[in-house]
Symmetry: none
Subunit: 308 residues, 2 copies
Amino acid sequence: MTRSDKPEDLLGISAVERDTGLLKETLRVWERRYGFPMPQRDALGERVYPRAQVERLLQFRRLMDQGWRPGKLMALSEAALQALLASSAGAAPPPEVTAILDTLAARDAVAVRRCLGNRLARDGLARFVLEYAIPVCVEIGQAWARGDLDVGQEHLFTEQLQNCLREAISQTDIEASRPRILLTTFPDEQHTLGLLFAEALLAPAGARCSSIGASTPLADISRTMLDGDFDVLALSFSAAFPARQALSGLQELAARLREGSEIWVGSAVLAAKPKALPGVRYLARMEDTLSALETWRDAHPPAGPAAG
Amino acid sequence: MTRSDKPEDLLGISAVERDTGLLKETLRVWERRYGFPMPQRDALGERVYPRAQVERLLQFRRLMDQGWRPGKLMALSEAALQALLASSAGAAPPPEVTAILDTLAARDAVAVRRCLGNRLARDGLARFVLEYAIPVCVEIGQAWARGDLDVGQEHLFTEQLQNCLREAISQTDIEASRPRILLTTFPDEQHTLGLLFAEALLAPAGARCSSIGASTPLADISRTMLDGDFDVLALSFSAAFPARQALSGLQELAARLREGSEIWVGSAVLAAKPKALPGVRYLARMEDTLSALETWRDAHPPAGPAAG
DNA sequence: GCATAGTTTTGTCCTGGACAAAAATGCGGC
DNA sequence: GCCGCATTTTTGTCCAGGACAAAACTATGC
């Protein structure tokens, strides 16, 4: 019943959806509006995409993830497009960052893990995250946008980094100290690396972290907060998350939580909006997590837990 | 631009597609043909599915995975359907499984972790996975279906289980032995627990596992396989994953991989289909992973790797 | 009893229209 | 001159109903 097993380098619309992440509906409406992609038709009149068009679509997707819009890109000449792809490179990364890119180029999981492990052992968890892991992630994102790295390589890196961090976090003491912090993301937000970074900073600083992974319904977030006697809810948002949805969700949560508990919002994007909500604190950069912890501790001295 | 943020327990068609694995087109054509599901409409005239209908759809999917066809199921009376479901329900869970449900009811992450840790220390990784973790996951799934557990509690459990497993896996030796196994899932398949279970069985048995997480594009899977000198590709599919998509993807991959390399497909659903593909092996249950490893080693004796 | 031919079921594709959310742009007040 | 708000453009996702091949089932002949 499937019609995607085309003999040559021609892909059916389902296969293109799978490979590019663009919905069938989007592919059809682009064809209607912009004249691209313009697939051939098979004997049944169904769309068959040559590989070249699929690769062009992938280039478009990379540029769109950087903020370009389809209409602009479609109007571009071939030369202008290539220039854009070339220019998306940022400043030259430091050599310690490029070193790990080489291990990724070889898809050598063991070497990646060794790189990370060495660095972590040398610098400790906090410096490892702030000075190494985050810059590397940024650079990998750019390499992906340039087409120098594919999703498989990005996954390989993420997996090793996760293992590395989780292992290190699990080795920190679970003290009975405060604050107790619940970490999660909103529904449809899958990006868990931000949570893991935050946990990696907070746990060794003595905060009791409980991560419940990504994409938790709002009702369950507030229920967990109330049941679990948490002081802080830490939420992570990727740049792509719709700001409106985030803000309305935050408003709802802020209203529902226990008096005295805080929400920390990790997002480079939302922090720009000055919408002040009571009990909500925006952390524009990852290092702000630690200052937030300090501030909280200043306001809640361990001797007298009576206030609340 | 997304319209999935419905206030109550009403899901848009995209959310239903995501949760049930039934394509939007299938949902619409069922409505047209059978009159079910018959969603409400919002102010815009767009389909909004009450939770009850989504759960009924999930029931249908489970039965269809057992070989039932939609037309038959739709014609069934409520009583007949319930009888069918009851006959497929498992036995009552053992007390050791229900014990952890109590800690989840209290949302006590530390207690959950302690439960898991104790059990793991007692039984070792393989027995822990097969005799404890998997039954608990099944029971949690049923508790969720009954409404006894919310998503937040499920997440809490999953996170602790992941930590537990990853830690244990990372402590196994990385031997230079064979086979080398690449683990991942197809695009849009987010379920990573299956991968982690497989890794937890394979790694202590001396197989060199590399997981690259979920949702990897097919092209990247085959590229990683070829670059990385892997012997086996292990793929995990949840029950919700569209079987057709899985099969066409497997066909594509099988054709592209190096001669002599195998694909192991972990799925309770696909294993029923007798569609034989060269080099593809279906593992209906998690314990089959270990017998697959044995079979592989019998066919590839370490002394003489000359045989193809 | 089994293979083959015919029938029904079922999933996926098609066209072309619509519309709200997001992004970009224009405009007025400090 | 610059920031905040209103307006316009862009863009992704939804809809209806029709079509058809692959798969599943059924009937028929040897």
